[in-house]
Assembly symmetry: C2
Homo-oligomer: 700 residues x 2
């Protein structure tokens, strides 16, 4: 279900239920409201009416008016009453910190289900239980109890949502340390009603939020998550995600604990690829990448990156690491080089990344001059300047002030987006924040290592933003119930636009000879029987037959072989198809993932796919552009590009064929379990499915 | 050359040459001596005897006695005089900050060579020029001018040496921020005399230094570097290195600048593999990894790692990332599980990494109890505990104090080495340092992301510590000058212990027939001519011949073919060898790298090596154990393990064959340019070189 969570996340009036001096959660909740500067009415609810936290209390929500949302910190046994009270008073939203439910096992889960079903029936929508709630830094309100004090930073723009409460706090602290301004931070808790997908949807619609940072342990509702991810992609609002449980060890442990099969991470990666979700591997990368994407937004993927630094070492580190993550550092154009030599005399061989040398310490105008020249280069679309932000008055100097002033001016002149990069990961202090604000600097990020990975993600995300989203899933069609076996499957695939090898069914020796003559050249014969899957094993395949006698004898031999091996098998005839010279063989398969639905896999046949698992996955539907992208990402892609004198594959036609296979699988609908084309033969522009296997979900 | 740098790096008396109030370098140099607590005599040398930096000056080193080392900060034109003055006064060591030499191009390089050759002739050994010098935190002395103020930390143990002055300062600041106690920091400058290898050798011998952190741009003397790296490996003192210029872009730029070909990074990696040098990709990883290796030293690679945390999210992040870098998290033994359930009641399914849950907040003894139980598990050899170190009094709490106290106690009880890991990368403040000291905590590191990579390196380095070092290079032998061509090469390789296919030389049709009969079964015939390299092109190869007539006719046909195609070619006969059924084919090559000497490459034939560059490199010599390691690291290694029903290769014999090829290449000595065995055929225990190509350095 999808929820309108506006009143939950932007309440004008807040209650704390269970408020008491002895209840630390309620103390933190009240203090957080104060810290964040909440200006609306706050009501403390205490069953006995005992004053708490230095304020008067009420005994029921009904004693106050217009409470939009409540923070509920009552003992587990009192949660039912609290919900009834909220409902009676018309309080429709809340966050429940109370623990002791699903996270403790079966009994707790049952009690959780009972209470939250009741809440739902009463029209009360709750975050949690076992949730630290949330803080909304944009509207300066909190319904939660995260034990940390964070000032509201300027330009809040990163929405943080996490399935681990402790980790929410940790990421928020880290974000503050790195001057990453959060718009919201939301700790999901047990997700009895509101889940990750709901919060992502809210953040997609929130105007202040420019990027969504997600710490995820498990996706409870894949469909809802995919829909929320699609909404984010349509809004061009990046989701940056750190997902745990991707390794074998964590997956095994999770399975042992919850009994739930953790989905294959390769499939989840395919989902992320489909919806342009950026995946990172560390908490630092989560905060820094989300901040960069929020600050910069999509860049022109056709225009590369330029780094400007006073340190040659920094230039080399960024170039080395940047190359690894696919950042382009275009060489400067002639015009740019001329401008640069006007800025610094001995800049004859200026190259990107550009080392502006120690000269810029005595002549800081070199910064702005170089930035202006580089920004005007049509090959450059993004600029990074290595510069340290002083952490204290003592660390500042007239030299660093002058440099920062010229850097700020340079961003104005450059005409392309940019950022300041500190060389190593270190805190941006309050003093540093003031320096940034005073100079009007854009994004300040770092260290180089994290910044480079984030820039790599920024470009990758921007490239995908430019691509079309997967089309919505086409409606399932009625398919003939007799659609079974190679021949029927290939024939049906042909009607769906999949190029397939011509096949003729011969029911007699004479028909086989005639079919072969019509085809011309050598042919292959294969038994056609609904009862036989492995044709070769029963002597049901003969290859390279040419001429009336060979084909006719072949027909007879196959029939005899099959009758001998499988006397009971029904024989529908023999398939006659042309022999093809060896080309490159692909395996294109569609399989159903229990969580994510149909997943398309593309691999190169032979040792590459068997030994190196060189396959690319995407959740369906897949457009031809995506299919082409999949092929390009195969490690063995060069095999298709004219390897060893073989003709280069027509990649457009190949992409269309792969996309058509995906579409065909989709229209087969819910009954489909798997569809495999093996091989899809590629020989220059000749692309054909040579064999197909279709598996229905329920036998028959 | 190798230098005894003891007096340079541990001077008891220091001079600053060029001292003047207007010379900022000398001001910084004097202040650094004060900051570091230098207790010995300091002499300021000023040509005119003008007082400087608030002190009297002398006009020549000769006016003082017993100066061990000098910091030289005179203008470039005065450097020659300063050197003469030092020599005359018997000052034998110094660091030259003066710039304007090789880093400015050809003229500067010539002047540098002139001055430093003269210094060498005078017995004066200098660091630099263009060097910020060094600080020695162990002996509390500095001959340098790094613009930063660092207190001396406890237990200085990481020696830092860097080829970039700015980066030295940056890494030192970072190290201080992360509580990484440097023993020395050395900025190399232009390396006119003393180079990286010399400083590494000094640090290998320095007792306080437990690990060596290197920031490198280029290796000037590969032989000396390899010798220093060998010395470090023999001393089991890890070298951790961040080397820039590894990417295509930086290599191209460096080449354009210096005209020097930057070595292939794959070859440099092979050197690092040989001498157990740990390579990292970021400044943060450099400091954190070196610190961990210094603090912990080699661990038992057979015993895995256990993480203990109050946060399930942290456990999962560490498990996921740890798996990626090859860290083993062994499951706990039955005895351990029993002990753990004694520590926490509901620990039935405790697993590694171990989430000790929020219960440990109210009962901190859980920490030490769990650590003791886990440390006693024979499968565990290293423990990490996630715990935050408070940055200030305000951030501390009775709860965190109690937890830290129990963690410290736990390390005492665990009986295995361990560390505290902070979850994200954040500074360890002076307050934090005091907390660490008060509790007597071992290594405190973090964040998790960096710590996990460092632990991965620690295990990898420890595994290699356990392996034997490459043996010294065997002496080159006299080899027959006629050693040229496939047959002679294979025959000679056979004398060196390389298994080769039997070959007989037939000089007549009759000899060919007799040879084939002696071999039995089908044979291959190949032309034997010193003038023909590509035998197939001239019709010089026939395969699968069996029987007198076929072999005899084949002999005649090849002779006729070759005479037709190459009438001038000398024909020494025809090689007769048995036909072999297809096996797995390896390519084993030895090629000379201009910097590093002979490098052995092993790859699997076919698409894997051609398309995916699936090769492993090592510098020679290579032991059979290393050769086996190389084979195991091939992506396609499974092809040798009994793939698709093929017999599994005898990997021990294969490793011996590869090592023998490497040894053979070494004894061929300096004249060898390349030796390629293609293919080395592997069919179960049958391993044979089928063809060999030998290329001498100078024609003939």
């Amino acid at each position: 279900m999808s929820h309108d969570l506006d009143l939950l996340f932007r309440p004008r009036s807040v209650a704390i239920i269970g408020a008491s001096d002895k209840n630390p959660w309620t103390r933190i909740a009240a203090r957080t409201l104060q810290d964040v500067g909440f200006a609306g009415p706050l009501h403390l609810v205490n069953r006995r009416g005992t004053p708490a936290l230095g304020l008067e209390t009420i005994t029921s929500c009904a004693e106050a008016e217009g409470i939009d949302a409540a923070f509920i910190a009552v003992p587990a046994v009192a949660l039912g009453d609290a919900i009834e009270d909220m409902a009676a008073a018309g309080v429709r939203y809340g966050a429940v910190v109370t623990s002791g439910f699903a996270e403790t096992g079966g009994e707790g889960a049952a009690e959780q289900a009972r209470l939250f079903d009741r809440a739902r029936a009463l029209g009360v929508t709750l975050l949690g239980p076992n949730s630290l709630g949330f803080t909304n830094f944009v509207d300066r309100v909190s319904v939660g109890a995260m034990p940390l004090k964070l000032p509201v930073l300027e330009r809040p723009r990163v929405g943080l949502v996490s399935q681990s409460g402790a980790t929410t706090v940790l990421i928020a602290q880290l974000a503050h340390q790195q001057n990453v301004a959060l718009s919201h931070m939301v700790a999901m808790g047990n997700e009895a009603v509101i889940d990750l997908a709901d919060v992502i949807r809210f953040l997609v619609e929130d105007e202040a939020t420019k990027a969504i940072a997600v710490f995820a342990e498990s996706i409870r509702r894949p469909d809802a998550f995919a829909a929320a991810a699609r909404a984010a992609a349509e809004a061009r609002k990046p989701i940056v995600m750190l997902k745990v449980g991707t390794g074998e060890l964590t997956a095994t442990v999770a399975q042992a604990h919850t009994g739930a099969l953790v989905g294959d991470d390769k499939v989840f990666q395919a989902v992320c690829d489909a919806y342009n979700i950026v995946r990172v591997g560390s908490l630092e990368d989560l905060a820094i990448t989300a901040d960069m994407l929020a600050a910069i937004g999509p860049v022109d993927p056709a225009r590369g990156f330029s780094l400007i630094s006073i340190s040659g070492g920094a230039c080399e580190i960024v170039a080395d690491r940047g190359e690894e993550v696919g950042i382009e550092f275009p060489p400067f154009g002639t015009e740019t080089l001329a401008k640069l030599s006007g800025v610094i005399a001995d800049f004859g061989a200026a190259h990107n990344p550009i080392d502006i040398t120690g000269a810029s310490m005595s002549r800081p105008a070199i910064y702005s001059g170089v930035m202006e020249a580089v920004g005007a280069d049509p090959a450059i679309g993004l600029i990074g300047v290595i510069q340290e932000i002083p952490a204290s008055e003592a660390a500042a100097s007239p030299m660093s002030e002058a440099a920062l002033s010229e850097v700020a001016r340079g961003f104005g002149l450059a005409g392309v987006p940019g950022m300041v990069i500190q060389q190593v990961l270190k805190p941006i202090t309050d003093h540093g924040r003031a320096v940034i604000a005073r100079h009007g600097l854009p994004l300040v990020t770092g260290g180089m290592d994290h910044a480079v990975r984030a820039i790599g993600h920024l470009y990758q995300w921007s490239r995908r933003v430019a691509q079309t989203l997967p089309r919505p899933v086409p409606a399932a069609l009625e398919v003939p119930p007799e659609l079974v076996g190679e021949h029927a499957t290939l024939a049906w695939l042909a009607t769906r636009g999949v190029p397939v090898i011509p096949q003729k069914v011969a029911r007699s020796r004479a028909e086989a000879v005639a079919a072969a003559a019509a085809i011309g050249g050598a042919v292959a014969l294969k038994i056609l029987s609904p009862d036989i899957q492995h044709k070769t094993e029963v002597g049901g395949v003969l290859l390279g037959l040419e001429g009336e006698a060979a084909v006719g004898d072949g027909f007879d031999r196959i029939i005899a072989n099959v009758k001998r091996a499988r006397s009971a098998a029904a024989i529908d005839g023999i398939l006659v198809s042309p022999m093809r010279r060896a080309g490159t063989e692909l395996i294109v398969g569609v399989a159903r993932d229990e969580a994510w639905g149909l997943v398309l896999a593309v691999g190169l046949g032979g040792v590459l796919v068997e030994l190196l698992q060189d396959t690319q996955l995407r959740v369906l539907p897949v457009s031809p552009a995506e299919a082409r992208d999949m092929v390009g990402r195969l490690k063995g892609a060069k095999l298709l590009m004219g390897y060893r004198g073989a003709p280069a594959a027509d990649l457009d036609r190949l992409a269309e064929a792969i996309a058509a296979i995906g579409e065909a699988a989709l229209v087969l609908g819910d009954r489909l379990d798997a569809l495999e084309i093996n091989p899809l033969r590629v020989d220059g522009a000749e692309i054909e499915a040579l064999d197909a296997l279709l598996v229905w979900r329920h036998a028959g």
